[in-house]
Every structure is written in C-alpha cells, then in structure tokens.
C-alpha cells in the first residue's frame, strides 16, 4: 500500500528537501521501515532503539495520533511526521 508522507522541516535533510514523499507498507512500522530504506538515517531520529516514538516527535495517520507503530494504514492514507515543541 502506498501512502503519502508529510515531512516536517527538521527531517527534510533526509528527503533532499522534499516536504512530501511516498512510502509503502501496511502499518506505520512498515512505512517507517520503507522510509528508512529510501532515506537512510531518518527513522532513528524519530524512533529510538526500543522502537518508541521520541519525546518531541508526533506521528499522525491522517488526523489520528499514532500511539503504536502497529497502527494499520490503507493505501492513500497520509502519514504526518510532526516535530512537536521542544523549547528555546
């Protein structure tokens, strides 16, 4: 399943500056794995080594906040990679 991925500005160094890219997968975890294949290094900046979403990163599938990387996605969904407030 192909999904659109909206990339926050702090992560665009991994996407060649692109604000929107595509990724394939049936779950958020699979989308992130595909993003890592296409844009090496990107996943670890968002997801720690214990597969937890980092404290100042938020993921949404369409408008639903992602709480588990096992969240399913459907073709045509949009995964939003949001960098939440992190201080001055």
């Amino acid at each position: 399943m192909s999904c659109s991925v909206r990339v926050a500005s702090p992560l665009r160094s991994y996407t060649g500056g692109a604000a929107t890219v595509t990724a394939d997968g049936a779950t958020v975890a699979e989308l992130l794995a595909d993003l890592e294949r296409r844009h090496p290094g990107m996943r670890f900046r968002m997801i720690d080594e214990q597969d937890r979403i980092r404290p100042h990163i938020r993921l949404f599938v369409n408008t639903m906040a992602v709480e588990s990387l096992d969240t399913p996605v459907r073709s045509g969904d949009t995964l939003h990679l949001i960098c939440a407030l992190s201080g001055g």
Binding site: R45, M46, D48, Q50, R52, R54, C83
Partner: protein
C-alpha cells in the same frame, strides 16, 4: 603550525582558524545551525577526520563525520544505540551523545563515545558504525554505579581515556557515578574513587556515586591523572588507588569547584582549571563575577590566579567541561569558551587573555585541531 578551534554550541558548530602567530582568528560557520553540539573532536591519527556529537530539540542523537577537515559531513550509518531490551529489562535509549574520544594510536579508525544516559560505545570504522561496549553497558553493577537522574541534563558518561601505552587500559567518568577503570579493553570495570569527596552522599567514603566533572590523563606520563570533581580538584599517580585533593591549595575564597581541567601536553606538573561558585545554591558562575583561570606548575601544590585581560567585574559566565583546551604549540596556547558565547585565548600559558569570538550561542565544547 596552523591552529583551529572547533566550537560546539547549543545551536551549532563553528571553527576559529588562526594565522601562524595566533594573533588573528577568523570565525567560520555555522555548521549544523540549530543542532545541539556536545563535542567536536579531530582525530589526531588522521587529522582530516573530525567527528561531531549532535542532536536537535526534536530529533534523536547522532554522529556526523567529516573526512576533509570539516568541509563536508556525512551522518554515521549506525549511531550509538543501546541494544534492544529483553522482556522485563529496563529499556534504555540514548538521549544524547555527549563525549567522543579517538582510540589508541595503534587502532586507527577506532573511537569511543559516551552518552546520556550513561553508555559506552565503540566504533572501529572511523565513527561510521557504533556498537555498545557490553562489558560496561551490561555490567551487573551499572544500575548501582550510575543512579538516575545524574546531572540536570541526565547521566553523562564522559572523560573516556585510552592509555597511550596500552589500548586495553581505559578510564571513564560518569556524572554522577564516579571514575571507573578497565584493564581488559572494556570487558570489566572497577571503581576508582577512593579519596574523592561526595558531599552530597551521607555515606562518608562511598566506593562509587561520585561526580567527576572532567578527568584528564597526561599523555607523556599516563600514570598521572587529574580530576575536576563536583567536590574538588584531585590528582592520582598510579598505581596509587587513592586520589589526592590538590584543590586544598586553592584560595579558600575561590574554592576548588569547576567543570574543566586541562593539562600541559609535555609537562605533567602543569594543569589549569576554571573555578566556579559552588557555594550556597550553586550558582556555577565565575566566583564573585570575576572570572579567572587558575594554574599549577607543581602538580597542584600551589595555584596561580591567571586573569589578566579577563573581565574585572560583572563577568558571570561558566566554562563547561568540554569547553577548555590547550593547543600543541611550543609556546602553549590555552583557550576556553563560555556559556555566554565568548571564546578567550592565551598564547602565554594563561598569563594574559583576550577575547577572540563573541556573540555565539552557549558554548558546550572547545577543542583544538591541527
């Protein structure tokens, strides 16, 4: 001999490059603007290689590598990360790469990294891929040695020292946790804190739990180590196992609290510190608003105040543990970067100082490169 100072700040990295006489300094940068840069370190074995420990407010920790003296950078393919936790185990994740140390001269391409929370990592390919040092990270005593939360920004593993005579002989410091030694390449570790005060611990002479801020090993006399601790300045001459509080010789009104300690590259009796106010609520600023470096020429038996050129009053900055260094010139240069974004230089072993950069973000590290 050319001189470059790498400046790591809370908002990016800069380079200060000097002419041959070190009279004129030119600031270049920023690189990685907005990144939190804890350490920038050149590889003395291969001076074209420079590593940066970085993260941002949003993004996780990583290491950037340059193989052309900092002109271009590439991110590590496998940054330092703890192993995946087993069921029921504490699940540790690296929050920041805090410290970088090149490995032994005989082990080209080898580096060590210290992290927050306390973790030790090793790379054998010039910082491209990092592996946990299991002998430390999975040591059965680690959870007792380094008890959270550690420093205000978490536990910090720092001062990774590789004995120039033996790549298997390592030291490291943990804030808070103490100084630890390995004689088998990191497979096992032993606390080395006897003689150090731990005024925040009701136990009178604990084996560990101390707060070393910075530990330095003399390169030509590696049995001599100096330590700037949360509770004083110390020296040890191995194989002794007890630190001696050489900060007792500091003026009482100044005290012996600070973050950095810097050694002379060839004279093991010379060292410099930057005292801060560790009284009352611990302001951690220059004592009395009158910043000064203190230096010893006799291994800590006595100290001299070195403040010519520094602000005479109302100078309230702090110098963090990675933010003071020496160069390799015969007429030794000393440098420090402040939490107020200034870089100060002395080409007279601290006799006089001048500001060579200002208006930078809070400086986290200042390292010399050739």
């Amino acid at each position: 001999m050319a001189s470059t100072l790498w400046v790591g700040t809370r908002k990016g990295a800069w380079a200060l490059r000097a002419d041959a006489r070190r009279r004129s300094w030119k600031l270049a940068g920023p690189q990685f603007l907005g990144h939190i840069i804890h350490h920038v370190v050149q590889d003395p074995r291969e001076p074209k290689v420079v590593l940066i420990a970085a993260k941002t407010g949003h993004l996780g920790p990583t290491v950037f590598r340059s193989t052309d003296r900092g002109r271009t950078w590439k991110e590590a393919a496998l940054p330092p990360a703890f192993r995946k936790a087993a069921d029921g185990e504490a699940a540790r994740a690296v929050d920041a790469v805090f410290w970088l140390t090149p490995g032994h001269a005989s082990e080209r391409g080898t580096w060590y990294a210290g992290t927050s929370p306390a973790g030790l990592f090793r790379s054998e390919d010039h910082g491209e891929r990092w592996e946990p040092v299991a002998g430390f990270n999975d040591h059965p005593m680690l959870s007792q040695w380094a008890v959270p939360p550690g420093s205000p920004i978490g536990q910090l593993l720092h001062s990774i020292l590789v004995d120039p005579r033996d790549p298997q002989h390592l030291y490291l410091g943990i804030s808070s946790g103490g100084v630890f030694e390995s004689t088998d390449g990191g497979r096992d570790w032993t606390p080395l804190n006897k003689g150090c005060a731990a005024d925040f611990n009701p136990e009178p002479d604990p084996e560990y739990g101390h707060d070393p801020h910075c530990v330095a090993q003399h390169p030509t006399e590696p049995d001599r180590l100096y330590q700037q601790n949360h509770c004083g300045i110390y020296r040890i001459d191995r194989p002794a196992t007890c630190w001696v509080r050489i900060g007792e010789a500091m003026p009482k009104k100044i005290g012996d609290i600070g973050f950095p300690v810097v050694l002379h590259p060839t004279d093991p009796d010379k060292a410099w510190v930057f005292p801060m106010d560790g009284t009352t609520v611990w302001p951690r600023t220059s004592v009395g608003g009158r910043p000064a470096v203190y230096g010893t020429r006799n291994a800590g038996k006595s100290w001299q105040r070195l403040d010519r050129g520094l602000p005479r009053t109302q100078g309230w900055f702090t110098v963090l543990r990675q933010a003071m260094c020496a160069d390799a010139h015969e007429r030794l240069g000393l440098y420090f970067g402040t939490t107020a974004g200034e870089v100060w230089a002395s080409t007279s072993e601290g006799e006089s100082w001048r500001c060579i950069a200002r208006h930078l973000p809070q400086i986290y590290s200042l390292t010399h490169a050739i």
